[in-house]
Amino acid sequence: MTAVDLFVSPLGRVEGDLDVRVTIENGVVTSAWTEAAMFRGFEIILQGKDPQAGLIVTPRICGICGGSHLYKSCYALDVAWRTHVPPNATRIRNIAQACETLQSIPRYFYALFAIDLTNKNYARSSMYDEAVRRFAPYVGTSYGPGVVMSGKPVEVYAIFGGQWPHSSFMVPGGVMCAPTLSDVTRSIAILEHWRDNWLEKYWLGCSVDRWLANKSWDDVLAWVDENESQHDSDCGFFIRYCMDVGLDKYGQGVGNYFATGTYLHPDLYENPTIEGRNAALINRSGIYVNGEYSEFDQARVAEDVTHSFYEGTRPLHPFEGETRPIDPEVGRKQGKYSFAKSPRYDIPGLGYIPLEAGPLARRIAAAGPGAASHQDNDPLFLDMVQRIGPSVMVRQLARMHEAPKYYKWARQWLNEIDLKESFYDKPVERAEGKGFGATEAARGALADWIVISGGKIANYQVVTPTAWNIGPRDSRETLGPIEQALVGSPIVDQEDPVELGHVARSFDSCLVCTVHAYDGKGRELSKFVINGAV
């Protein structure tokens, strides 16, 4: 990037795969640009290939959510080939998807997010020494157990899928495995061990059910003070620390949310279709814009490349999507600044607008009206957003809230596996077809659109949660969600703007992220790195 006047850094100071530039005026961020600095061309590689190539290629888009990529790429093929998926197969897919997310929650929190809480800027807090004692890299009393125990849930993934990361064991028509009795009992034992030795012991300080009884922000505040165990748990401490250092006060974002939902109900999605998907979801999909709920419709998604390093003149629906990269040096002269495209969603009356994806978006969707009896119906985070507004803290708590919830679902699906029933129904491999598959990776809505023609892939488009959140401006110059979330952040110390790190990090984008701070005259003030999970 440009010459740098001053380096001040809590973590390090280099450009990574994502550069964030911000302008700071009078102690407040006034504008922001997110720049993804790497292109790998997976959608180009998939063109002309075997229809099932996405099962192998798309998990390799992201090593931390490869199981999520597999889940949705498989459903895209199920839809395109009009397969029958036995309920047992759906249960196994759900368990695997849930266990990947249960891995991500502590791994992300301790290895990537919580170390920022030990930043020296917080030394003024009376709770600072305790934050360092718990969260310091490698030596923190919670860091070690949290990072090491994050490997347990994916042991369950390996029992059904052979390995994690990067299995391709979900296939159109079901799954490749047929578990034995001990596969199921061992999986249960591993999840119980993880619950006992991390989730309840370190994170909650109470039972899973006690935490899930919280339905409002008042409930959460009462929970913190209910007893010493909860008050001093990592969760109790985190809430108190956030409120002490102000992480409940900024990082609001666009305030509009988008969830594709995940976890299909085993009995309600035996014949996957686009039309039948929303009603069959357990973790609901939904759109929440300006306080109004609407149903998610994949036809309303489009990707804008006005400021992305790709050729193209108008927003395209992914079935018609194109991926034609251009040299960043050439692109910059056209006002482009990122390898991420800008996914947008068409709201009647508003046009194509940016929406925040991620755990908070899922939690908002879970509070929407009209839940069927099999669907998650959880008012907690809508209450929090309405009471105290979205923030870095609320976004984090939404992510952590899913640990007890998904643990319970995974246990239930394990209980429901019928070992004597089928796990696979061989599909007809149709030469022509279109498919849409989606899920919720730990960090948000993830979807594939596949067009099969003449027995091979004619077009394949993947829209990731990271693109939803870090995507750049669009043709209307509307900022992307992280860009928007950064604007308005108060910067206490211009030479060490740790606040920016928290905001960017709270989205858990799959990118190593560098923040560059500039003053109103375009002089670079500081630059630091937020380590990411690529």
Binding site: L11, I45, D50, I56, C62, G63, Q163, P165, F423, Y424
Partner: protein, 323 residues
């Protein structure tokens, strides 16, 4: 104390995620028990005290000794040889690789992408990606066939998509405890201690293979049979310890019913994922496997198979992995 710098090029971070699953040593042990001095890693936050870019420059110029340079991901040359599809710390990543590899005591390629290009280098290779010292099976790659690190070793390839955490941590521990001399490499620069054996070595389906009994369906069909005959399993032709050192301490793909895709070999993904090649055994005349186990030939294989089928006991035709 061995200093380690870990960079990611055209990567998905899968090897890092695999590494974080490690046990004995786990990642915390590696730092606290083995005194590994992890100078920088993209996902593991460490307070750097000083300017990271200066640290990289100091490593790149030899001012700061770098014992082990770990690289994950492809080296991208595109577009048009500029390397600008992957910018890092103000320059193309490929320029960092050139500079750091020249100063490092040992260079370790983690995963297929760094070893030979992996999935990003699949045709049409839109980013002009390559591995550190191989491009697919061809010697050379980014650093050239004659590259040797400061202690005289070629790039150590720890392939796999991803590499198993043990393959990574045990090699790092070997290097950190002065056992570099014990790391015997094969012709593809893979440590033989892991990659001499086949993926099939230790596979629970090997008795079905012995009597040529095929799995004929996924799902409940995988309660019996070997995946080699119908589902394209590459276990007999692939070198890895996947069934000796289990994944996530639990299983392996072939044990779970998924055919080996050969991800520790340079050709991965095989046949460039052409239509009709995914999870399907390629056959000659509709019946004979196009590829037979390493070291044999079609005639020998068919004679052996015919005899094996005659010898097959009844149990080899029945479910073994039952409820």
């Amino acid at each position: 104390m061995a200093s380690v710098l870990w960079f990611q090029g055209g990567a998905c971070s899968g090897n890092t995620m695999s590494f974080l699953n490690a046990d004995e040593p786990n990642v915390v042990d590696l730092i606290t028990d083995f005194g590994l001095d992890l100078l920088w890693h993209p996902s593991l936050g460490l307070e750097l005290g000083d300017n990271a870019q200066r640290l990289f420059n100091d490593c790149a110029t030899g001012k700061k000794p770098l014992d082990i340079f770990v690289y994950e991901g492809t080296v991208m040359n595109g577009p048009n040889g500029s390397g600008r599809y992957d910018m890092f710390a103000a320059r193309p990543m490929k320029d960092w690789v050139t500079a750091l590899a020249a100063q490092a005591g040992v260079v370790v390629a983690i995963g297929d992408c760094a070893s030979w290009g992996g999935i990003p280098a699949t045709a049409p290779n839109p980013t002009d990606s390559t591995g550190l010292q191989f491009h697919k099976r061809e010697r050379g790659g980014f650093l050239g066939a004659n590259f040797r690190s400061k202690i005289g070793l070629p790039v150590i390839n720890v392939p796999g998509c991803p590499a198993h955490p043990d393959w990574i941590t045990q090699i790092i521990v070997a290097l950190a405890t002065g056992r570099a001399g014990d790391i015997a490499l094969d012709e593809l620069h893979r440590p033989q201690t892991f990659f001499k054996t086949f993926t099939q070595t230790g596979c629970t389906r090997v008795q079905y293979f012995e009597y040529k009994q095929a799995t004929t369906s996924f799902g409940d069909g995988t309660r019996k049979g070997c995946l080699f005959y119908e589902f394209g399993c590459r276990g007999p032709m692939t070198h890895s310890p996947c069934n000796r050192i289990l994944w996530n301490r639990q299983s392996s793909k072939t044990r779970a019913g998924m055919p080996c895709t050969g991800c520790t070999e340079p050709e991965y993904p095989f046949f460039d994922l052409a239509p009709g090649t995914v999870f399907k055994t390629q056959k000659v005349s509709g019946v004979i496997p196009q590829e037979v186990p390493e070291g044999t030939d079609h005639l020998t294989y068919m004679a052996h198979a015919a005899a094996a089928r005659i010898a097959a006991p009844q149990w080899s035709k029945e479910d073994m992995f039952v409820v």
